[in-house]
Symmetry: C2
Subunit: 553 residues, 2 copies
């Protein structure tokens, strides 16, 4: 009997994981990886840092070579092999060698598609000019490095404010180039809500990055002096020695379409929970498939390496006869820019608004990464989104210099396990003065959200103050001398505790302090005395990010 032959198309993340897992489950089958490019299993997430000289050698990005796969796993990797067609009736893959042009065909018993996603390149005038680069492969990164070196480039335009755009902007600034980031939306990092992305933008501006937000690109031109101009629909022009495109990615579905596989409503290859496509002999994994969001239960695209790896593992299990399933995604992600980390897990408020959800509540907080009495404490900014009816955690975002990924990971774990905000309040996390606090940031998030959920502390935000409200600042007079809010009445908390009779009973009272804690105390005091009191979640420290991004909306 002939040995089972498994072909895997695409050798990065999902494909590589699938191949290695499959070998561990089945020593006998023949596994072939077809990789269009010159490298298998390279670190695409490291490319911006290679351009930025943070990662200094190309070979650091090569996680495995065809020899590794052969020696360790008995897996054959064919680089420069591009699959061009799948004949599902004959279970045949056809393709050509990308260098020699030679055609090939191979039969399979099981086929795994892991083609990834391709950078979006809108058909704009001039987009194919030299000097306009995408960042997907090691050769892409090499071309950028060479261009910068040979042209002594001193300025760059980055088009797109997502992960690649922001990371490229940071790395080019790091190399001493002047950078302008052009983005169609009024904010960078659209996976984050605007008031959270704002902190990242501020940090980048401090480091010299210029922004043209709300600017849709119209085209590209090369001037006689060799400068490249990005023109936008509002008529502006931005010039630089090179242009980086970071306009997001689109799943590579051409082969799947050609094979007659079902493409889902979100635009990716449709798979079941076993990562099997509409063809029973074909599996698909990674950025090219659409996945279910575990919070919204909606299909979506998500180009992240972690889920791709787990999908590869699930596909391998099923090909080997084990019935494992992929649980879906929650979109946990983080980015680090100039010492600031920002990220999220679960749903953003923007996403919930797009989906028309209204059964949710939001709280903001600004906890320290560890106790303030130990030297070096850093402030974080956090946003927690939970379901109003049952307190289920729907999403969380955080930004700060230290401890951000740690709290996001805890919150991601809570979302995975279907936790409510009460669970967050009850978390028992690591505490020593250098590492946290007896009430960790996650505990605070849970307690604040629980207070809202339980009706103890109704909250409002700076952009949605109740009509006819009295704005009550409960900070100390010394604090008020620093930053004031127009129309706010200042009654410090200790004074308020003595006497509240000067406050009107017939108007909503909106309380704020520096971060929201004394505001909470005041709201409890006032509510028990019969006032209709609200706390501004996140206090004065949330004001600038909230109001400056509201203008952008």
């Amino acid at each position: 009997m002939a040995k089972k032959h498994v072909i895997i198309i695409g050798g990065v993340a999902g494909g590589a994981s699938c191949a290695a897992r499959l070998r561990r489950l089945d020593e006998e089958c023949v596994i072939t990886i077809l990789e269009r490019g010159p490298h298998v299993s390279f670190a695409n997430c490291g490319l911006p840092y290679y351009v930025g000289d943070v990662i200094t050698a190309q070979d650091h990005l090569l996680l495995a070579t065809p020899a590794t796969f052969r020696d360790r796993f008995g897996i054959e990797v064919k680089i420069h092999h591009e699959a061009t067609a799948v004949d599902t009736s004959q279970r045949l893959v056809r393709g050509r060698h990308t260098v020699s042009g030679e055609e090939f065909s191979m039969t399979y018993d099981a086929l795994v598609l892991s083609p990834g996603a391709a950078p979006i390149r809108p058909p704009l005038p001039g987009i194919d000019l030299p000097g306009i680069f995408q960042v997907r492969t090691i050769p892409d990164a090499e071309h950028i490095r060479t261009w910068i070196a040979e042209r002594y480039a001193t300025s760059a335009i980055v088009v797109g404010g997502g992960f690649i755009g922001v990371e490229m902007a940071e790395n080019l600034l790091h190399r001493g180039l002047k950078v302008t980031l052009v983005e169609m939306l009024p904010q960078i990092m659209p996976n984050l809500d605007p008031e959270m992305a704002w902190y990242l933008q501020q940090r980048m501006e401090e480091k010299g990055c210029r922004f043209a937000l709300g600017s849709a690109v119209a085209g590209f031109e090369e001037s006689e002096e060799g400068l490249f101009h990005v023109t936008t629909k509002d008529g502006s022009r931005y010039a630089g020695d090179l242009v980086i495109l970071g306009l997001g990615v689109r799943p590579e579905i051409s082969l799947a379409k050609q094979a007659g596989l079902t493409i889902g409503s979100a635009g990716g290859i449709e798979v079941d929970e076993h990562m099997r496509t509409s063809d029973p002999d074909i599996w698909a994994v990674g950025d090219a498939v659409q996945v279910t969001n575990i919070v919204t239960r909606q299909p979506q695209l998500l180009a992240l390496a972690g889920p791709a790896n787990r999908q590869g593992r699930v596909a391998a299990d099923n090909i080997a006869g084990r019935s494992s399933t992929f649980r879906g995604v929650q979109g946990t992600s983080v980015i680090g820019v100039f010492g600031l980390s920002a990220g999220g897990t679960g749903c953003s408020e923007s996403l919930l608004q797009r989906l028309g959800w209204t059964d949710y509540e939001v709280v903001f907080l600004h906890p320290m990464n560890h106790v303030g009495y130990y030297p070096g404490a850093k402030q974080m900014h956090m946003k927690i989104i939970f379901r109003t009816t049952d307190g289920k955690l729907l999403g969380a975002q955080a930004v700060g210099e230290e401890g951000v990924a740690r709290r996001l990971d805890v919150l991601a774990t809570f979302i995975q396990m279907g936790a409510s905000v009460h669970n967050l309040a009850e978390a028992e996390l690591c505490y020593a003065p250098q590492f946290g606090a007896a009430k960790d940031a996650v505990n605070f998030a849970g307690m604040i959200a629980s207070n809202v959920l339980d009706g103890d502390m109704p909250v409002v935000d700076w952009n949605h103050l109740p009509e006819n409200a009295l704005l009550l600042d409960v900070r100390s007079p010394e604090e008020c001398a620093g930053e004031t809010v127009a129309d706010a009445v200042n009654i410090p908390l200790p004074q308020l505790r003595q006497d509240t009779s000067m406050l009107p009973q017939d108007r909503p009272i909106v309380v704020f302090c520096h971060v929201g804690q004394r505001g909470y105390y005041a709201v409890r005091l006032l509510r028990q005395r019969g006032y209709e009191a609200y706390n501004i979640s996140g206090g004065l420290l949330s004001r600038q990010s909230a109001t400056s991004t509201a203008k952008n909306k």
Copy 2:
């Protein structure tokens, strides 16, 4: 009608949290905190760092003053007020002023005991000599600082290798003193398993700390030159300019006993899930109560600030008529020493062994805190304990320079939510090159444990190799040139993949590599070819910690 009067005895952590929460729920009741010492709500966890001059000013340790409680919360704090008796039939607390000696008595409607735990001071000869210090209060820390300064102290003996002992040793070394740590057990940090605590001890030895492990103290003597000698039962003597006692703590139950409250089997005040004692008008919180371990379901003592705070909150809820409950503890803790972090959550293996549990399995791993291709990756050492029958996560420990608290927090969250190791494998955590990996350390832990759970990779450890086993080293010849294992046969993985016929079919084959990954591949290969193969969990990198601590057992 008279206002409800709540008395809280003890103003640190649990007591302070209880008072503040109670005020937020009930504006009307009268709340009085009786605090024996001169400070309310101080940062006892910061004391070693104040001694070490890392925290430079005493007032950094004062989290709140009586004025804070009065102004913010309308709570009266009576410092220097020691409660000496409770008359439960009359609901009366009696006591005396610790400075004036004046007696007082106060009636209560609800009483909260938050007396904490006292350092253990065994009645050994010489224990009351000057120069022998405990570390519980700010005055304790001041006395040590003064003693060091006035005597120009250059050496210290620390007795006890738990949190306080290790933190004090670090801080005294940091100040330039020579330090010897004397500990009765064969290891430091008994909340960790010996092979995990070993890494911490190594680091401390590198920094000059001397250890006398397995040495029970017999007594203390002062020499004519003013040196203090610690004598041990094995006849050794250790001399220093001062002695720090870090022998653990014992719950302060004298008042509870006097009041006739039930004391539990673990030696703490017994409370129900609402933190109510056997007297319906008395609640108790913090280090003085015994709590239920959520993993073992056994009662235990646990002196940690986080749970104390949450207990205070629960007691306040119930006093205010809300029926909230305390979910129990899992013992999450961390310590930082000379740049190394170590901690655990859930059960240690030592604890499970003491309880006689056998339905568990252990895996070791040594993942990096982030991808190796990004500069600055640091190795962690992790131990995962899970139930063999259903894969439920029972405990986790980790040690390393970076990322340890983060992974422990995630694992603590999984334990809280009752997760299995499969959930760990499926976690979707923060990944960017600076922050993690597409397969995070937690994912690896879950995948390795799942492989064991599913029977794909039976594991053994260095101290329990099967009889008559063939020890098979699958590393490369270059690696073997560095460190070899006696009696091990070296067949590198690529060669093994070519041919396994030289291996005996009638003996267990125990495979190892550097960290366990290639060992896993080899085990899968061999098992599918009919061999009885086992992987040594954690590989060669686990060997030294395992074998050197086994000798101590």
